[in-house]
């Protein structure tokens, strides 16, 4: 089913992850009825990916994020192994600069005692999210193009259009949301650890309006609690998704002739420079807000 390459199919293609799950096939085109085929594999269209339901996985997101995370950890570990109080090498200097920056930031916003957990958490978030965001600066078509054509070359019955690949994990809602849910679990864990189960639920139920308004309090505080990680995920996702979308739209300008194409090149450079700021800022915001939320979880009442 080789579609014609139109602007809208190009955009759609860029917005679809490489999903792995139970294969489905369209049995009734008029009613859009899909049936599982009983085997597992990669979705070959957006509609099929949508049919796979919750128990499918975005292989590109996982691959890119784990590769980037491992890369970061490998770098910091190699520095940590050789870390000494002597004159630092350039590589050690850079890592120490980041670590020191994170340490200062965490100490500035976290008042709940030792930072032995929060500081490494902040470093991981900052470094990892930054690297995942950084993939946004790789020209949008290069890696998907390579992946599509190599896969299609090796797998005979696939056309390049049926292979999807998104290289920016943070433009897949699952990645930021997965991290945010982990942050939510950490908030709950530390709240209970510091204030006890009673203290935590007391905070949820008995304020801000006292015991008489318990259901109302509860509803309000649960929304507050859930809004924290949700906004965290949405902010990161929204910024990166929008940025990616603009890169895709600029890329489309290249197919509109010399004049508009050169304008597109200019825009691309401008947007990329601006985006360096955004990706760093978003990584920083995710980190700082996580630290602040955990700090609030450590506080006894407001």
């Amino acid at each position: 089913m080789a579609e014609e390459l139109t602007v809208s199919s190009h955009i759609k293609h860029h917005l679809q992850n490489l999903a792995f799950g139970r294969k489905h096939e369209l049995v009734d085109e008029q009613n859009n009825l899909w049936e599982p085929t009983g085997s597992w594999g990669f979705a070959t269209s957006s509609s099929e990916a949508a049919q796979m339901g919750f128990w499918s996985i975005h292989v590109d997101t996982m691959l890119m994020s784990i590769t980037l995370g491992a890369l970061m950890m490998w770098y910091f570990r190699s520095v940590a192994k050789k870390a000494s109080a002597g004159v630092p090498t350039a590589m050690q200097n850079f890592a120490e600069w980041i670590v020191e920056f994170i340490d200062t930031t965490v100490r500035g916003s976290f008042s709940g005692g030792k930072t032995t957990f929060v500081a490494p958490l902040a470093l991981t978030i900052f470094g990892w999210v930054f690297l995942m965001n950084l993939m946004d600066l790789v020209p949008v078509d290069i890696i998907p193009f390579l992946v599509q054509h190599t896969t299609a070359y090796f797998v005979a019955d696939l056309s390049p259009h049926e292979v999807y690949f998104k290289i920016v994990p943070t433009t897949d809602i699952n990645a930021p949301l997965g991290m945010a849910i982990t942050v939510l679990l950490l908030i709950i864990f530390f709240s209970i650890k510091i204030k006890g189960v009673g203290g935590f639920f007391g905070e949820l139920a008995f304020q801000p309006f006292g015991k008489k308004m318990l259901p109302f309090n509860f509803a309000l505080e649960v929304v507050t609690l859930l809004a924290k990680p949700f906004s965290l995920a949405m902010r990161l996702f929204g910024n990166l998704y929008a940025g990616e979308m603009i890169f895709i739209l600029i890329a489309i300008m290249y197919s509109a002739g010399m004049v508009i194409g050169s304008l597109g090149a200019l825009l691309q450079v401008g947007w990329a420079i601006f985006h360096i700021l955004i990706i760093t800022l978003q990584a920083f915001i995710f980190m700082v807000l996580t630290v602040v939320y955990l700090d609030m979880a450590h506080q006894e009442h407001h």
């Binding site: 917005l15 679809q16 992850n17 999903a19 799950g21 990916a49 949508a50 796979m52 339901g53 919750f54 128990w55 499918s56 996985i57 975005h58 997101t61 996982m62 994020s65 784990i66 995370g69 970061m72 950890m73 910091f76 570990r77 520095v79 940590a80 192994k81 870390a83 000494s84 109080a85 002597g86 630092p88 890592a95 120490e96 670590v99 020191e100 340490d103 032995t116 957990f117 500081a119 490494p120 958490l121 470093l123 991981t124 990892w128 994990p169 897949d172 809602i173 699952n174 990645a175 949301l177 997965g178 991290m179 849910i181 982990t182």
Partner: protein, 156 residues
């Protein structure tokens, strides 16, 4: 854009990386940073101490120089005083010696003069006698004239 199990995968990967960072990355780097901080602080303190010691030594050296200058001045003035004394002494000695020499010379001169005067006196008397005897040989009363001459000689 579907929400699916990637969520769980991401959470697990996230926790794994945080754990790894917490166990193998953060502590060694922080330890190295702390150690370096301490080392630098120690170094700065040592430098400060060194500078302080140098200041003290300079002060001490200055003091030694002043003392030496004082001593030298004292020695010089003492020497000058001593020199003056020696010159004065020598002057005094010379004057005394000179006076002594002058006095003895005067005595000698006087003695010589007296001796010459005696000699002259005796010789003048004789010469005058001889002369007078020769000129006035005949008419002279030896006796009377000798008395006269004796008187004349005694007047010299």
């Amino acid at each position: 854009m579907n929400i699916n199990a990637t969520l769980i995968g991401q959470s697990i990967a996230f926790l794994f990386f945080v754990g790894f960072c917490m166990k193998y990355v953060w502590p060694p780097i922080m330890q190295a940073l702390e150690e370096r901080k301490k080392k630098i602080a120690d170094g700065l303190a040592a430098a400060e101490r060194g500078r302080h010691e140098q200041e003290l030594a300079e002060k001490r050296a200055q003091q030694v120089i002043y003392e030496a200058k004082d001593k030298a001045n004292e020695i010089i003035s003492q020497a000058q005083r001593r020199g003056n004394e020696i010159v004065d002494e020598a002057k005094g000695d010379a004057r005394v010696e000179g006076e002594k020499i002058m006095a003895s010379t005067k005595v000698e001169i006087e003695q010589e003069a007296n001796r010459v005067r005696e000699e002259l006196r005796s010789q003048v008397a004789a010469v005058a006698l001889t002369g007078a005897a020769k000129i006035l040989s005949r008419e002279i009363d030896d006796k009377a004239h000798t008395d006269l001459l004796e008187e004349l000689v005694s007047q010299i």
